[in-house]
């Protein structure tokens, strides 16, 4: 079968990105031809400002060199632009007279700078700021002339002005409005920006309307409406862009401000798609790169004929790429009636932060001087996160919530290149920044894959995102809020969970088929997640798949770095007897355990056990009444308790006994992530119940129930769920909360980020306000526990899964066969 023909008109970031996404999905489907008007391969247009400022070279910003096109079998025509599209015969015609036919056509013709049509606008020395040619022309002018006027005090204008100033020109920015970057900044932030730029030598003419460009054979000045004039050897028009719809209009495609497309990026001709700045989608045209990449992904999906994926528009954020100036804005940052604003202003340090809030959700943000947390605010904005629980500290930033334990001093922008960002993998700031610019990385996942930064414990994710944002400027495509489970699928965790319940899906094979999984048997990221979801939703029906579990859960011990395992027997509530200790001591002697340690969860850990020894060791332990401590699993781990009322003079309730009951209720249950409990006998809280997933603090009049805490990477103190009066209620609320988390959290999401994601008020509504719902959750939990509370150690000690623990021996088999 001959391949279908795909022609891409426009060799820029949006078009080529679409092709890249398409090649990932269907590398063999199309014979691809790309036409570019510029004589260059695809380069990073948003990096033109640093090129103008002399901070980068053209070579630095090339994204796909010519070998890339050749390696992927793509024919590239540069410098021979398409001049006409014939939709009836499905052909394009180029300037040199060539014609080429297509099955699918992709338009990515970008935009043109808007040149104000005042007299003199065509004089030599008047230029837009759009492509490499414009930059070369500006650099050439800077070598020969002195005075530059930039018309337009927006993002692009200020970046152009900064670049020209860096090249030694005397620059005046002319702006129609009274505040700079009015589409991104409010007045206080714009004033700070203006003051800072003025200090570096930039001149401003505000509220000035251009009437005429003066000059004969080259520009020599600008005259304004009020009659005043200013000298100029170079005039840069940076007042905006217009979608380049010329070809599309000629071909009779429906265009308004841009080529009109639907949510699949299809134009009114079903064979023609369009992406990028030339597009108008739901009445919006975008000039920033992040939305273009979102469009590219969806469009590629449809070109690959997968038929799902919709582009529903983007919320955008902006950064200014002027060295030494930190500025960020996103969303609707000018407050309207009914909005609230949170403002932090420190004129001496040149810091201004404003958040516009409605109904405890961020609508917009403007930041100047300190933009470290821009990415975080933007994420909260897009995900419409309820900020009520950290509203009083939100302006101080994410690190104030205890992010990563990296202190205030590690403000990423100020870090030196040898500062370590990722402590797990030893990756420094310089490595990350280099990888981003030299390998053309755009997303967090790409940085993880290439540098390993934030690929282990993830605590430095925020820092890596900040580095991406500061290195890329507006080009940074923030991690989408609805992330796909892994590269095997487009579906998010929530979509998978929904499908498992409603389809319904009760086996891994059904799930792969129903959701069109791309890899025939998934990967090491998705299989454990899917196995958990199936198990949590269909207890008693779904057959647990050992090969979809990480080794720790398959071998029921924790693999250590030398390949040995550790064994932690369960001690309910942390209680044990002299006989228990004797058994453990005997086992340790018998199996020559090299190290014994008491764990943080009040258990005893036996290290250095060889895998072959595990079943025999478990046999001795289970004979003495021990069950698995599940210290190795995404599972209920431990219930920690304090001294308790029997001994402690401050104790109020039977806290230790309650701890034992809670552990008897919950042991054995699989969870999205590890899950820890604690019961303290009084508000002194010696069992540290307020940094547990579920914590109980006993008081004289009853029990306080706390949820969503953890120690570890990012310490989070629990939220108080409620107070109850009886032990029976504690058990019921605990079971219901646990089940809600088991049913609704994403795999590998602990209760702390889950509670923050769904909000405390949601959990309260489900557990406190809905009594029938709570009882039903508790019942479902108890039902599942019937199947979960079968001790995995005992069954393996009795011979189950023997192959897992017995290696094959080569000599043995030769003798047998």
């Amino acid at each position: 079968m001959s391949k279908q023909k795909l022609i891409l008109i426009g060799n820029g970031m949006a078009g080529v990105r679409t092709v890249e996404e398409l090649l990932k999905l269907e590398p063999e489907m199309y014979e691809i031809t790309i036409f570019g008007a510029e004589p260059h391969p695809n380069y990073n247009r948003i990096m033109l400002s640093p090129v103008l400022a002399g901070e980068k070279t053209i070579d630095d910003i090339v994204l796909n060199n010519r070998e890339w096109y050749a390696d992927n079998g793509i024919t590239l025509h540069t410098g021979d632009p398409v001049v006409a599209i014939d939709r009836i015969s499905r052909q394009v015609k180029t300037a040199s007279g060539n014609t080429l036919s297509y099955d699918r056509l992709l338009l990515a013709t970008g935009s043109n700078p808007f040149i104000i049509p005042v007299p003199g606008h065509e004089l030599p020395g008047v230029v837009g700021f759009r492509d490499i040619r414009d930059v070369e022309m500006m650099l050439e002018s800077a070598r020969q002339y002195q005075k530059a006027v930039v018309i337009g005090g927006g993002l692009l204008g200020l970046e152009a002005a900064n670049g020209l100033m860096k090249n030694g020109m005397d620059v005046t920015v002319v702006h129609l409005m009274d505040i700079l970057m009015e589409r991104q900044l409010d007045k206080p932030a714009a004033e700070l920006l203006k003051a800072s730029l003025a200090e570096s030598g930039m001149n401003f003419l505000m509220q000035a309307e251009t009437a005429e460009i003066l000059g004969d054979d080259r520009v020599r000045g600008v005259r304004f409406k009020d009659g005043s004039e200013i000298e100029a050897d170079l005039v840069v028009m940076a007042v905006g862009i217009r979608a380049n719809t010329e070809l599309a209009q000629q071909a009779g495609l429906h265009c308004e401000r841009g080529v009109v497309v639907n949510d699949t990026l299809q134009t009114f001709d079903p064979r023609i798609y369009a992406v990028g700045e030339c597009v108008q989608h739901r009445d919006s045209c975008y000039g920033l790169v992040a939305p273009l990449f979102e469009q590219a992904k969806v469009c590629a999906n449809h070109l690959a004929m997968l038929g799902y994926g919709r582009y529903e528009g983007s919320v955008t954020s902006t950064k200014l790429k002027v060295t030494g100036i930190d500025l960020f804005s996103a969303g609707e940052f000018n407050e309207e009636e009914g909005d609230e604003t949170l403002v932090l202003q420190d004129p001496a340090q040149g810091i201004y932060k404003k958040l516009v809030i409605w109904d405890n959700r961020i609508k917009g943000a403007v930041m100047y001087g300190d933009t470290m947390d821009g990415t975080w605010y933007f994420q909260l904005l897009r995900e419409e996160t309820d900020i009520s629980c950290f509203r009083n500290t939100i302006l101080f930033g994410q690190h104030d919530l205890g992010d990563a334990g990296h202190g205030d001093e590690t403000r990423v922008a100020m870090l030196s290149d040898d500062a370590e960002i990722c402590g797990c993998n030893g990756v420094c700031k310089g490595d990350i920044v280099n990888a981003i610019s030299s390998k053309g990385l755009f997303t967090l996942d790409e940085v993880r894959a290439h540098t390993k930064a934030s690929a282990s414990c993830g605590s430095c994710t925020g820092l890596v995102e900040s580095l991406l944002a500061s290195t890329m400027g507006e080009g940074y495509a923030a991690t989408p809020s609805e992330k796909a489970v892994c590269a095997c699928t487009e579906h998010s965790h929530d979509e998978v969970i929904q499908a498992i319940r409603t389809a319904p899906l009760k086996s891994m094979r059904d799930l792969f088929d129903y959701l069109n999984w791309k890899a025939p048997d998934g990967c090491s990221a998705c299989r454990p997640a899917l196995n958990y979801y199936l198990l949590a939703n269909w207890p008693g029906e779904y057959q647990d798949d050992a090969q979809s579990r990480f080794i720790n859960e398959r071998a029921h011990g924790n693999i250590q770095k030398d390949g040995t395992y550790s064994v932690v027997p369960r001690m309910f509530g942390g209680l044990c007897t002299a006989n228990d200790l004797r058994t453990i001591a005997d086992v340790a002697d018998k199996f020559e355990v090299p190290e014994i340690k008491v764990t943080g969860g009040q258990r005893i850990d036996l290290f250095g056990v060889k895998k072959e020894q595990l079943p025999a060791m478990w046999k001795d332990l289970t004979a003495a009444g021990f069950v698995s401590g599940h210290a190795y699993g995404k599972a209920m781990r431990t219930v920690k308790t304090c001294a308790g009322k029997t001994w402690c003079r401050f104790g109020t309730q039977n806290s230790t006994g309650l701890g034992v009951q809670l552990e008897e209720l919950t042991w054995g249950s699989w969870m999205p992530h590890k899950f820890k409990l604690a019961v303290s006998g009084c508000p002194r809280n010696c069992a540290e119940a307020t940094i547990k997933d579920f914590g109980v603090v006993c008081v004289d009049s009853g029990y306080e129930l706390h949820i969503g805490g953890n120690g570890g990477i990012k310490v989070r103190v629990t939220d108080l769920l409620c107070k109850v009066e009886t032990e029976a209620e504690v058990l019921e609320y605990c079971g219901a909360f646990t089940q809600l988390y088991r049913e609704e959290a994403h795999y590998l999401e602990r209760t702390a980020p889950w509670v923050e994601r769904v909000s405390l008020s949601y959990v309260k509504q489900r557990i406190l306000e809905d009594e029938v719902g709570r009882k039903a959750l508790f019942e479902r939990f108890q039902y599942g526990q019937q199947f979960a509370q079968i001790d995995p150690w005992r069954v393996r000690a009795e011979g189950a899964e023997a192959h897992e623990f017995k290696p094959l021996h080569i000599n043995q088999m030769r003798a047998v066969s």
Binding site: A449, S456, D521, R527, Q547, H803, L808, H809, N811, M813
Partner: protein, 109 residues
């Protein structure tokens, strides 16, 4: 040929799973994919020496249990942005029996 040694029955290796195989001098990981293909690799990840036989098998690859490096079972090459290579050994399946040939080294690390 006499160099082919019978080492296990196919059904002794779980599908999409692995077994560790010990010789006098070597630790070998024996993998069985979802399509019942069998591969033998040295049981040692080139990254930090993790036992590959304990990893998750998916398509024709295994993810190391220690730091999730992905190794191609066919070539022994590390996939993706990481670099490295694992020794592979010749294996064949005949009538439900898995044979190993240590004389035929398929690649050297």
């Amino acid at each position: 040929m006499s160099d082919w040694i019978a080492i296990a029955k196919l059904n002794e290796i779980p599908p999409m799973g692995a077994r560790k195989l010990l010789t006098e001098t070597l630790e070998i990981a024996l993998f069985r994919t979802g399509n019942d293909e069998v591969f033998a690799l040295r049981d040692r990840c080139p990254h930090r020496g993790g036992p590959l036989s304990q990893g998750i098998v998916h398509s024709n690859a295994v993810s190391c249990p220690l730091h999730n490096w992905k190794i191609d079972l066919q070539s022994g090459e590390v996939q993706g942005p990481d670099d490295g290579c694992v020794n592979t050994y010749a294996v064949k399946v005949d009538e439900g029996v898995v044979y190993l040939n240590l004389a035929l080294a398929e690649s050297a690390a």
